[in-house]
Subunit: 350 residues, 3 copies
């Protein structure tokens, strides 16, 4: 358990932490999960601390897990939406009295509370791929208290932590020898972020799984993150293979992670603006990419389906899969948002 | 005091509980009201518990009484609006990435917290009479933690509890021999739910009052609930009489409960869509149905006016009645939302 | 320290309190600031109390400082927006089921909690100068618990308290012999309230500063408040001088408070409706009124820039001033919202 450099750190990307540091925060989270199971109080860990939760996008899991989590640790979360404050903006994007420069928002909040968590992605940044993370970085630059990334266009590290915790609970910490199938699926809207795939793949490879990732040829992930994943696999004794056939991910898998995500090549900066109609058309070629019972039956008999939720039933996954014997891990994964994030907060917040 | 079957129960309808069980929860609520009066802390009752409060409609009393109530019990309420999450939907009504199936929302929330409270009625369900309760039932079907009905088109059991507590405070638990006048009044908009009338009548009859209910011939209540009321009156030694003259409810009454509500015969499923213009026209025939000083003077000298609030002054009730000697019970009734709901939460939440 | 008449009082205007009473609340706030610096808990001061925070306008500092502040004192704040409740209205402005009379809202809330804080100004009252304060007064008239003014068109007493605390921290309680320059600046929108200027001037004069206030001839402040300021200066041994040249405020100043505000002569009741286009045109004549490095260099070498924030960079102040050596006081001023308001709440709430 490596703890000496965690207090006061931002939690922006899994890539900013060593494997041991991520393990430490997951182990803390699991201890707090055990505490909850026994109703053992731990509200003395972050007593009277304030967590600002700034949501530029809707949220069910992220908001409720952070708000419940900080409360269980003794603190209080403020649910903030831009419509109720003013829009925090980068230099050059000010809108008079309707906006406030991020440098000022971050400095003010960091004098009034103990951490700032931010979700920003998709339409609110015109789907500019790098921009949402740049905004979170700007908060981190000016804040004196830890900044937590609650999802941007590229990263969703809190989800990655919950995913890893769910995988640990299925197989133990060492995923070597486990086949984790990861796949793109069809979806009806051109709006689902790619960040959850990135961080699920990051974590599965970090802990040594044999990862098979299937997606249509046009549905590449971020090349830099793909390099991280390959390096993880090499270092951990796992493997990483890409396929263009969904069945490759499913066959003999211990877990099938199947979800839709946007086409990076139809979004800025590749295109000048989001090509949503093109994307829906492109997706239409792959309507049969769905996690259904037939495909899940290709996996091991004990296999579990995973998805960060919310899922689009009938597009990404069938009712039979999610509500059947394969679906339990999905809800563990959702619940673990609470526990994993509590581990992170307890580790990094002063 | 009957407590053995309360822990873990949903609180969806008054009809789901025995008279003794309802009495128990009211008595618990009164104890907590006394605690508050003496500033005696009781935040050890539900320490660190999370209550999800999902509001599809605006709310002043319900939201603030639940949020303050769970806090006084040691927990924390999350104020959730569909615009900040995604719309929870029944099967067949999914809207891609903008909605999430209730089965999933309920399972996720019940893993992150300790109870789910829901308000849904009126426009948001197209005024389909049974649909809003069906949605709450769907939450209850999938949730592992208690679900609390914060009002649907048909039921408002938390209001019924507060009403009963206010009546007890006026007359004691035994309402036999008390005349409770209940009446429809005029209102300018075709939007006021009928649920508060249903549950006020249910409670007044359950505790033995002589209920006189006056409304224009077109303004019937739910026939199934009317059967419940008659059965209550028969079992409790009270009585139930319907009249088409407002004065009948007021004459010699101990309490006059007077409020507007929608015409069920101008809403689905009777009609294919809400006939709002028709309803405003129909209401126009009965503009003189208002709780005014003249009518309140027909009641006993000590009589009180009751209404769940918000009321439409000048339509449902005059300023003189609400702000005069008749109005105090109305605000006791509102305050008792806090205490009665605390009794319910303390009884059913683990 | 004068405390005997504070419990149960409303906090509506600085003018409602004696200098000693304001000092007392500031001293309490400073003690709580020191507690925070040492992580000394003081959640036993207002345990389980509920603060209703009703925002008709967006807010970052006010909302977060009140919500964090009441939590640190042991209570809980409800973040209320009219869209989630119904619009609280004065008599004669009811909107059927979409609004609720303030007399009723105030009475209901004061039975469910321990204080009601309200922000209302600008567009939501059609910029009618006196109306927003009249609405807050109406709440206070009906509420049984303290009402706190979180800013109206005319007053922003919580900001005045934070300003005074920041001035004390720079110079000590006695501001005699200190030159405080206060000035109007250009701004791009006709939306910035004048209330912060009023209450900054009130406090600077109350504690004996030599105040020089510069603004274009058309940009007068409220004449009644200007009388208060003159009386303060006379009583405290300070001075108050008005100029039409921005440099007069800056020269040799210890502090330069520079901010845009609306033209009272282009708003009701002087005009029949807000003359926004006229105001933007008027402002355009004074585009060079900005707190820039050149002007700050006219002040003392140790001078600080102050502004209640959010500021309009490039219009009210340059990046170089706010992010340079002059800007620190501005963020102390913002932070002190938290501490000063805690002092107020701890003093007046039961």
């Amino acid at each position: 358990m490596v703890t000496e450099k965690l207090k006061g750190r931002d939690f922006l990307r899994l890539q900013d932490f060593t494997k041991q540091e991520l393990e430490t925060m997951l182990e803390l989270g699991l201890q707090l999960k055990a505490d909850n199971a026994m109703r053992r109080a731990h509200d003395d860990l972050l007593p009277r601390r304030t967590l600002f939760m700034m949501f530029f996008n809707p949220s069910l899991r992220t908001r409720n897990s952070f708000e419940a989590g900080i409360f269980q640790l003794g603190g209080h979360g403020h649910f903030l939406e831009p419509s109720s404050t003013r829009l925090p903006t980068l230099e050059g994007e000010d809108m008079g009295y309707a906006s406030e420069r991020i440098s000022d928002v971050a400095r003010v909040l960091s004098r009034m509370g103990d951490a700032i968590a931010i979700r920003i992605l998709g339409d609110v940044v015109g789907w500019e791929y790098d921009k949402s993370y740049r905004i979170i970085e700007e908060f981190a630059k000016w804040s004196h208290v830890p900044v937590i990334n609650m999802e941007d266009n590229k990263y969703h590290p809190c989800q990655g932590m919950a995913d890893a915790m769910a995988l640990w609970e299925l197989f133990g910490k060492d995923l070597r020898g486990r086949k984790i199938g990861v796949t793109w699926t069809w979806g009806s809207s051109p709006k689902k972020p790619i960040a959850p795939h990135h961080d699920f793949l990051y974590m599965a490879s970090l802990f040594g799984a044999d990862v098979v990732f299937s997606r249509p040829p046009e549905m590449r992930i971020d090349p830099g993150i793909e390099e991280n994943i390959k390096a993880n696999a090499a270092a951990s004794g796992g493997s990483y293979r890409v396929s263009e056939t969904m069945e490759d991910a499913c066959e003999n898998a211990d877990v099938v992670y199947a979800k839709n995500y946007v086409a990076l090549d139809l979004l800025p900066p590749v295109t000048s603006q989001p090509e949503k109609d093109e994307m829906v058309k492109l997706f239409g070629k792959y309507k049969n990419w769905i996690a259904d019972e037939a495909r899940m039956n290709l996996a091991k008999p004990t296999a579990q389906y995973m998805h960060c939720l919310p899922c689009e039933r009938g597009a990404e996954v069938t009712n039979g899969v999610l509500d059947g014997k394969w679906g339990e891990a999905c809800f563990n994964e959702a619940e673990n948002r609470l526990h994993a994030q509590k581990g992170v907060m307890a580790a990094i917040m002063h």
